[in-house]
Symmetry: C2
Subunit: 395 residues, 2 copies
Amino acid sequence: MVSKQILDDIQNSSAIRAMFIEGKAMAEKVGAENVYDYSLGNPVTPVPDAFTKALKYVIDTEDSLSLHGYMDNAGYPDVRQKVAENLNQRFGTDFDAHNIIMTVGAAGAINVIMKTLFDIGDELMVFAPYFTEYRNYAGNWRGKLVVVNPDYSNFQPDFADFEAKITPKTKALIINNPVNPTGVIYSEDTIKRIAEILNRKQKEYGHEIYIISDEPYRELVYDGKKTVFLTKYYDNTFVTYSFSKSLSVPGERIGYMVIPNAMADFNTVFNGLAIANRICGFINAPSLLQKAVARCLDAQTDVAFYDRNRKMLYEALTRIGFECVYPEGTFYLFMKSPEPDEKHFVEAAKKHHLILVNGTTFGCPGYVRLAYCVQPDMIKRSIPAFEALAKEYHL
Amino acid sequence: MVSKQILDDIQNSSAIRAMFIEGKAMAEKVGAENVYDYSLGNPVTPVPDAFTKALKYVIDTEDSLSLHGYMDNAGYPDVRQKVAENLNQRFGTDFDAHNIIMTVGAAGAINVIMKTLFDIGDELMVFAPYFTEYRNYAGNWRGKLVVVNPDYSNFQPDFADFEAKITPKTKALIINNPVNPTGVIYSEDTIKRIAEILNRKQKEYGHEIYIISDEPYRELVYDGKKTVFLTKYYDNTFVTYSFSKSLSVPGERIGYMVIPNAMADFNTVFNGLAIANRICGFINAPSLLQKAVARCLDAQTDVAFYDRNRKMLYEALTRIGFECVYPEGTFYLFMKSPEPDEKHFVEAAKKHHLILVNGTTFGCPGYVRLAYCVQPDMIKRSIPAFEALAKEYHL
């Protein structure tokens, strides 16, 4: 007698993992070297030495009772201050400790923000294609997901559709930047237009509409491109961050959120967030991990590795004749299905031992996602399979 | 424009912390050595060496990418197997890895269970006096808290009140064993009577009623007494555990839950829990911490320290004339207020620089809680203050 919602969640939650499991089963049959699994977004580049050194250093030098003890629910003040200063240095912002709450990853941060903001039936807007978990997070807090269409020419949002779908119940817009699954970076122009529309709607409705900018891939950007820092463009912005990808430590669940001074009712919002961090069951971000990341805020995993994969995969697929969204960041590539029903295409690919994820999972039918956080050799070996698949479609 | 619920939470959440902050302010005025702060349940005994050694060992020996990487949302299979075997050894149970889910502390585990079970309006029963966060956890999942009166003679539950308050909407009963704030252990007889009543009500209503046995203080028991392991007495039982108290590592957020084979619809429930662990934003328990605790499952902080505090405080207070519940576990003592309005008594105590927490916070007016996880010297120094306070009440 589990809840009705979790029964739905069990039903719907498995699209990506189902592909991963199919890939594993296939590998047992035909050999792992003959399966080209692009299903999971799991970091594969080394954990920076700086992180391991930082862990050891804090274990060796800090008093164990305080190192592993409770602190303010918002996190250690010195850690929050270091995170703030690092952001200021990199993005020209002006934060200090009181603008930062350490969290159990970005997923924890988003849930804490939604717990703080959402009444039953409030609406969370997302730009398709969107990270599938956002639907589940909305469900947790009994919010309603509202999906905005993309501009298919560049996978920036469709602004007319965005504006048309804002209602008096719109509580927040969540932006993933750069975007899982397209790898697109929202341009400064896009951010300015979003801010202009939301500011206008805030005035019209007489209450706040928030942006949650979810940035776990912020450091995984290529060609010298960068995301813009959203608090500079829109006051009621929360930025959520995870060290999962930049340090290759997704199992450790360590991240933070930023609350700018310009946030309406800053104190109430901050107090709500700190309490929600506790109430949701996180209590605080893991204490040892807080202290460790604070000592290696500029460390990064091998981003060039993903960049090489990106180029190899994009060049091969477009050469073969597939239509791909040009990935500017993340470790995902979004490819147009050569037939309208991409689920059928995913099945066809499977026959060539290519494991892809259907775009419907991300609210964007007609496309498939490839996660290229894989060994380069797998990409090389997969190219003939893509060529054979393309032939079937007369590309 | 935060949610209505979080506004309430901000209002209500601060009773214990407010006392702690008042104590701090008082310490600045009159000197820390003259303030006797019994407000916070924060471990003060050393972190066992075995834990620190385990941390270093896994950092030195495991591949960093897998040590800090994603695993199944339920946790590392080898860690779950070790936890199961340790429980079997200590409690004569028969678990293996598939009965265990590693969680972000017990608070994380309880929220994951409630997310899995609760539809809007379902009822969570608690035995007064109860850990205040249970009210907030019910709020997260839009459940309704139903408070059962204690038998004031022994602070076991009032069984007649318990049975009378069970309704068709009752989804779960949460038991904290041993109990924060009374320090009482629920006897085997109590557990049997609870199981008998719930089994009868399950039949009557034709659906499951679950027990969530929250056991973060399981190892903090005295006089050779022990809690019984609830899965042996009632099939639909979840046990939640945190290493926060036994290892003095509350900041690390590491714990687990147990789901026995006898649980109705085991597979659906387990799948729901694993997905909820992810969806709620935990994803998984911190990976390094999982590996570390698995290597020191029998380690314990200095329980004798708390036992000495317990005896000293209980003996002094009863000698002075206060009526106290005899604490069999935890590091809390529950004392009857000498006047019916214990909030007034808390104010009177404050004038003697004694920082206590009112029982209303725990759903039990007329009593106050003292957390004796403090330095023994503070207890000694506080005794004259209690004596002066007692005089005011002609004890």
